[in-house]
């Protein structure tokens, strides 16, 4: 019985984890950089949702999409202001490129965190519940209605994002740019637009996951740190740049953490993910489902 409950908890968390992480992998796919400010977009989503509900009193139906929208806008601005130099001149940057991306996104992460601290303050706001019911029983299984609804929502969004990337025209353009930026631009694809689109979409998705998790995680300036670290674990687990890998990785991490917390140690539950991350990076650097994009 316990095993079943643990697995279900893990699966529910897994859907969030997938939604949290997919943006990171999309950005890596198209820009070949790791966005170290990923968690702060989670924070933006959590704050947008929480403050809109608490201060402006709008309904859930407006607050959740608003979080996505605000994340998208900030992501778009970030791409325009900070990410353009990465591909404005099509030249290989070598080490300098990674260095630039790490410095700038790490700086942005600190900046957004401290901006929230300065404007909104360090106090955590508890995100209002998504639904009024608190518990659902399915057979002998008890679970939180919050988590269930939020996970289902996350699954729907994940599925639509995946379909968008696979089948829509823009999605295909993005895939083309991810495969070969120069080749795509020769074929007449607007690579700058594709990059901006990916960055905005990715930021929106992680902000959305921040909104959905606000009742659990609350909203405070450093709320994004753990989601970001988990996203890195997931993305490395699933393989950098692989969208489906990040979804599978999300479920994998959710279940592993849930099992580890129950059967090994609750206090150390957050270290499991990092251990897995280090092990995967050492033994299988392109992840479990990764495309071999990493240079040696």
């Amino acid at each position: 019985m316990l095993a079943l409950e643990v697995t279900v908890t893990g699966l529910l968390m897994g859907a969030f984890y997938g939604l949290m992480a997919i943006g990171l992998t999309l950005i890596f796919g198209i820009l070949k950089v790791v966005n170290f400010s990923h968690g702060e977009f989670f924070m933006i989503g959590a704050y947008t949702y929480t403050l809109l509900m608490l201060k402006a009193g709008v309904s859930v139906w407006i607050a959740v999409p608003s979080a996505f929208l605000v994340g998208t806008l900030v992501g778009f601005a970030t791409e325009r202001l900070l990410m353009r130099p990465l591909y404005r001149t099509y030249s290989e940057w070598g080490v300098m490129r990674d260095e630039y991306a790490i410095i700038v996104t790490f700086g942005l992460s600190l900046f957004l965190m401290n901006l929230a601290n300065q404007i909104i303050g360090p106090y955590p706001y508890r995100g209002p519940d998504l639904v009024a019911v608190s518990r659902v029983e399915i057979g002998s299984l008890m679970m939180s209605a919050q988590r269930l609804v939020a996970s289902l929502l996350a699954l729907v969004v994940l599925a639509s994002a995946y379909l968008f990337m696979r089948s829509s025209r823009w999605g295909k353009e993005i895939q083309a740019v991810a495969q070969n930026r120069l080749g795509a631009s020769i074929a007449g694809i607007n690579t700058a637009r594709a990059s901006a689109l990916v960055f905005a979409l990715s930021s929106g998705l992680v902000a959305l996951s921040g909104a959905l998790l606000a009742p659990l995680f609350h909203a405070y300036p450093a709320v994004g740190v753990f989601p970001a670290l988990k996203s890195y674990v997931i993305v490395v687990l699933g393989g950098m740049g692989s969208a489906i890998g990040s979804i599978v990785g999300g479920f994998l991490l959710g279940i592993l953490e849930s099992l580890g917390a129950t059967y090994i140690s609750y206090a150390y539950r957050d270290t499991f993910g990092f251990l897995i991350l280090m092990l995967v990076l050492i033994f299988r650097p392109h992840g479990l489902f990764g495309e071999k994009v990493r240079e040696v």
């Binding site: 890596f28 260095e99 790490i102 600190l110 900046f111 965190m113 401290n114 740190v225 957050d270």
Partner: protein
């Protein structure tokens, strides 16, 4: 590129020694204990930032764990005192050795990783260590931290000990950067495959750089905990690493003097910002973004540019010599 020419490195050393001489004289003017404390903390950060710069600026290994090694250094001494009443004068060197060994092991682990992968692995290493220390209540008293004894009665003694370490580190780095080994490190930074092709033992020098940089961080952390009288997981927060990184980047990465200038500038002005009620990290993170985006050479690079105005301003992203291998 930066730090490549001998003349430049010598000039950086000269200016840093002049700067440190001024720092040595400051206690004759600054008599408020509070400001002495600020200067001591600046020196602590200057040592850690210089160590990080050796790894990231000179060897191109963008580690995100410098604060973690300072924490390990601090805890080594703290734990030895807490459990066995061993003197800090033994504990601090033990911490240095421990950090050197752990740094070496981490260096071996991340040997094949580059850029973002290296940053991610070191970041997760940092978080594992911090979480383990924070959760091992019976051994480390967890998030409460360990109280550790003072090693001096007087603040001035700490001041000059930190200054001594800083001067030694600065001179040591100068000798290292000017030596053959320094050239190897910079060759690895610029292109490790080419460096290996020219006969540089990349494995040896990368791990050596990791080990040395970590040991220096451990030394700084070891002394630091005996100054603040507390070894806590907060020393190893990612935010602290962010601070170290900001200092080196703002001052100028890959230069001898950059981390030094950056550390003092950031630490002292954050006190001023605190009075105004503005979050100092807000300002510095913005500066990091601007420096990264517009003038990669940092504050020292700007000063150098002012010095010889004749040379045109190179744009960070298009100078051919900065473009890596294809």
């Amino acid at each position: 590129m930066k730090g490549g020419s001998r003349v430049r490195t010598l000039r950086e050393l000269r200016v840093s020694l002049i700067f440190l001489a001024v720092v040595a004289l400051l206690p004759f003017v600054v008599r408020v204990p509070y400001w002495l404390g600020v200067l001591i903390v600046s020196m602590y950060f200057a040592i850690v930032a210089a160590a990080w710069n050796l790894l990231a600026g000179y060897t191109g290994q963008f580690s995100l764990a410098p604060a973690t090694f300072a924490m390990i250094g601090g805890y080594s001494s703290g734990l030895l005192y807490h459990h066995f009443q061993i003197s800090p004068w033994v504990g601090i060197p033990v911490g240095v050795v421990a950090c050197g060994v752990i740094g070496f092991l981490l260096g071996v682990v991340v040997l094949r990783l580059r850029g973002p992968y290296l940053a991610l692995t070191t970041l997760s290493f940092a978080e594992i260590i911090r979480l383990v220390i924070g959760n091992s209540y019976t051994l480390t008293r967890g998030d409460l931290g360990l109280s550790v004894p003072a090693i001096f009665e007087d603040r001035l003694a700490y001041y000059y000990l930190f200054l001594l370490v800083l001067v030694v580190v600065q001179l040591g780095l100068y000798v290292l950067v000017r030596s053959r080994a320094g050239l190897y490190l910079q060759a690895i930074r610029d292109d490790d495959v080419a460096a290996a092709g020219r006969g540089v033992n990349v494995v040896l020098w990368k791990t050596a750089s990791f080990s040395l940089s970590s040991a220096i961080c451990g030394l700084a952390g070891g002394i630091y905990v005996h100054f603040i009288l507390l070894a806590s997981p907060e020393i190893g927060l990612v935010l602290e690493t962010g601070l170290v990184l900001s200092m080196a980047v703002i001052g100028g990465m890959g230069t001898l003097i950059g981390p030094l200038l950056g550390a003092f500038l950031v630490e002292i002005s954050s006190e001023a910002f605190r009075d105004v009620g503005l979050s100092h990290m807000l300002v510095f993170s913005l500066m990091v973004i601007l420096v990264g985006r517009f003038f990669r050479e940092g504050l020292w690079g700007l000063l150098e540019r002012l010095r010889d105005r004749r040379s045109p301003i190179p744009h960070p992203s298009v100078t051919p010599e900065e473009g890596g291998p294809t």
